[in-house]
């Protein structure tokens, strides 16, 4: 690895003399991370799958051969064929089109969850570390408490318990504003799922940020910067953020996959995305009763979900190797 920035003295501006080594621009941390990531086949495979998923979700309406809600009573429970590459379900809907729309759902929900999780976690973690003392102890206690409990149960419970309340809220907002989407049941179920999973998802970033802030605060270079009269804002932007960013990116990637899995799990349990909204989990549940005779009903959304979750897992691992060289196991 060549990170030399020293330019040999005899290089004239006109061009390097024959034999002299061309001075390379030094690689920044991000160049270096990208270099490492690029050479990790699992990470690149994960990234490819993820990009494909994003494209498929964005252009779902254009790619899908059928409307995802269109019922064709002449083609019920068709096995995969040229006309329906993943077959049709018991209402004659094209499964491939539904998988595409399910991908859109999963992506949207996961994006909302991991973004809010990262922001809330960042704020809570930083606040807790800076406040210290009893406040800090309380926050840590809450985080530990949330983490001891089986996460999927908590999400499921919150989802069930808050759904009516959120529906009422949306109803009164509709009365006040007249915005049509507030009456959309599918939209409300999105909000419920995001809220329920978001309740759990903030704990990981919060823990990470808190521990990073605590350890940074003790470091000499921060003390030195403070002694030089730096403002808190400078320290946060120039020292804290760059130090946390790498781990944060890894965490958000991993939590993205997790959020997708949770969304599907809730929908599978029948308390997530409401029909007619398409969700992989709900599709798997619907196919379950016919799994022995029509396995593709479960396999098509199931394999898609598994591949995407695995891709994000591989991507997160590769990012971790690239961005946190110190934590890498030999």
């Amino acid at each position: 690895m060549d990170t030399s920035t020293i330019v040999p003295a005899d290089i004239s501006p006109g061009g390097a003399p024959a034999g002299a080594r061309r001075a390379k621009r030094s690689r920044s941390f991000w160049d270096d991370a990208w270099y490492k990531f690029r050479h990790n086949w699992a990470g690149m495979a994960g990234l490819t799958v993820f990009v494909l998923l994003c494209l498929a979700a964005i252009f779902a309406k254009q790619i899908a051969p059928y409307d995802y809600l269109e019922q064709d009573w002449t083609a019920i429970l068709q096995p995969p064929s040229a006309a329906h590459i993943m077959g049709t379900d018991d209402l004659g809907r094209d499964i491939f089109s539904r998988v595409l729309m399910g991908g859109r759902t999963a992506l949207m929900v996961a994006m909302a969850i991991s973004l809010t999780g990262a922001i809330v976690g960042l704020l809570v973690g930083a606040f807790s570390a800076f406040a210290g003392g009893k406040v800090d102890a309380l926050v840590v206690w809450v985080i530990d408490g949330v983490m001891t409990f089986p996460a999927i149960w908590l999400a499921a419970f919150v989802s069930v318990a808050t759904a009516p309340a959120l529906k009422n809220l949306a109803g009164s907002l509709y009365n006040a504003t007249g915005w049509e989407f507030l009456r959309n049941e599918v939209m409300i179920s999105y909000a419920v799922v995001v809220f329920a999973i978001g309740m759990i998802n903030w704990t990981w970033p919060a823990r990470l940020v808190r521990s990073q802030v605590l350890s940074l605060r003790e470091r000499e270079f921060i003390e030195a910067t403070l002694a030089l009269g730096a403002r808190p804002r400078w320290i946060i932007m120039k020292h804290l953020v760059p130090n946390v960013l790498g781990s944060m990116i890894v965490l958000v990637t991993l939590s993205f996959g997790n959020a997708m899995l949770f969304e599907s799990s809730l929908s599978y349990l029948g308390i997530g995305i409401r029909p007619p909204g398409a969700s992989w989990g709900a599709m798997i549940f619907q196919g379950m009763s016919k799994v022995r005779t029509h396995p593709y009903l479960v396999l098509a959304p199931g394999i898609t979900l598994a591949v995407v979750v695995l891709a994000l897992q591989f991507m997160g691992d590769a990012l971790n190797d690239a961005l946190n060289p110190k934590s890498r196991n030999k």
Binding site: A42, W141, D144, G145, T148, F149, P150, A151, I152, W153, A156, F157, V158, V160, A161, T162, A163, P164, A165, G257, L261, S264, S265, Y268, L269, G270, I271, G281, I284, F285, M288, V291, R292, P295, V298, L299, G302, I303, L305, A306, V309, L310, Q313, F314, D317, N329, K330
Partner: protein, 319 residues
């Protein structure tokens, strides 16, 4: 030791109170008006909504009391083994009775899965570490990544199709619980175990690698011990602490995943009870289940701590 135990148990109580208070309050407000539900379903439907009956149910359920009084009342009863009744189910069965019938199956299933994940995951992690960054390491780690990434509600039906229907290696599960050592338990336990496999393999691998780089390992090698002896005597024993922690944490995750596995394998356990309760909006059952599962998870982590102390003399608490 006894004092440590007592202090640990006492320190659990605040968390238990907060968790149950949260579920109780959120559940009571979120689930809608139980008295209205009862008056609507139990009353004479020809007469329309029976306000008198509604008031009677409100009184009976103590719904006119402030929420904290109701919670305190519920908690007091819970401490005496009464978790209220499930009004959604036929015959209003007591929640405690339902839980008492459901928990043993799930605990046995989790135990079986935990044993499986340990006897599969730990050796795989050791092998991966010994051949670290080699071909075998990559295969083992990505293999367990794949197995753990498949959601259990996909893995289980696929496993049923392949193992039970096509290959006919194991008998069909049918209905109910056949006992811890029945052939029917192998598949659900295995599917459940896969949930935690990656974590166990990974932690074991990293932990072994860390110990391998220690001085005393080099010293043991220098003394001329065979590599197998070095690993067996020096490395594994010292690397097991983080692994035990992770296995302990996996236990809680496995309990959570029973919600899918029990439904797919038709086991009338705790997870089945919770998933049905959630789908029916049976908030009393779910609140009771939350209390019991929190206690189980806490006792489990206490158990892990005690094992920790037994294995590592340095952690043993002296006070």
């Amino acid at each position: 030791m006894l004092r440590y135990l007592v202090r640990r148990i006492l320190s659990m109580i605040p968390l238990l109170i907060v968790v149950t208070a949260f579920t109780f309050v959120v559940g009571q407000y979120g689930a809608g008006d139980l008295a209205a539900y009862l008056a609507g379903t139990r009353g004479d439907s020809t007469k329309g909504f029976d306000v008198e009956l509604y008031q009677k149910f409100r009184q009976e359920l103590g719904m006119d009391d402030p929420i904290y009084a109701r919670y305190a009342n519920w908690l007091w009863n819970a401490a005496h083994g009464d978790l209220g009744r499930s009004y959604v189910m036929m015959g209003d069965p007591p929640v405690a009775y339902l839980i008492k019938n459901a928990v043993p199956q799930s605990l046995q299933l989790c135990l079986a899965a935990l044993v499986l994940v340990t006897i599969i995951g730990v050796p795989l992690g050791v092998v991966a570490a010994v051949f670290s960054n080699g071909f075998l390491d990559r295969v083992l780690v990505s293999g367990s990544s794949i197995l753990s990434s498949i959601p259990s509600f996909v893995l289980a039906p696929v496993a049923i199709i392949v193992v039970v229907v096509r290959l006919q290696l194991l008998p069909s599960v049918g209905v109910g619980w056949h006992g811890l050592f029945a052939k029917e338990t192998i598949l659900p336990a295995f599917c459940l175990a896969m949930v935690g496999l990656l974590n166990v393999v990974r932690t074991t691998r990293v932990s072994i690698l860390e110990v391998l780089s220690q001085e005393y390992v080099r010293a043991a090698r220098a003394r001329g011990l065979s590599e197998r002896l070095v690993i067996a005597r020096h490395v594994i024993r010292n690397a097991m602490l983080p692994v035990i922690t992770v296995i302990g944490m996996t236990g809680a995750g496995l309990l959570g995943a029973t919600i899918f596995i029990e439904q797919i394998f038709n086991i009338q356990g705790f997870g089945m009870m919770v998933s049905k309760g959630l789908q029916r909006g049976d908030i009393m059952t779910v609140t009771g289940a939350v209390l019991v599962s929190t206690v189980i998870v806490m006792l489990f982590s206490l158990g892990v701590d005690l094992v920790y102390g037994l294995i590592d003399p340095r952690v043993r608490v002296t006070k």
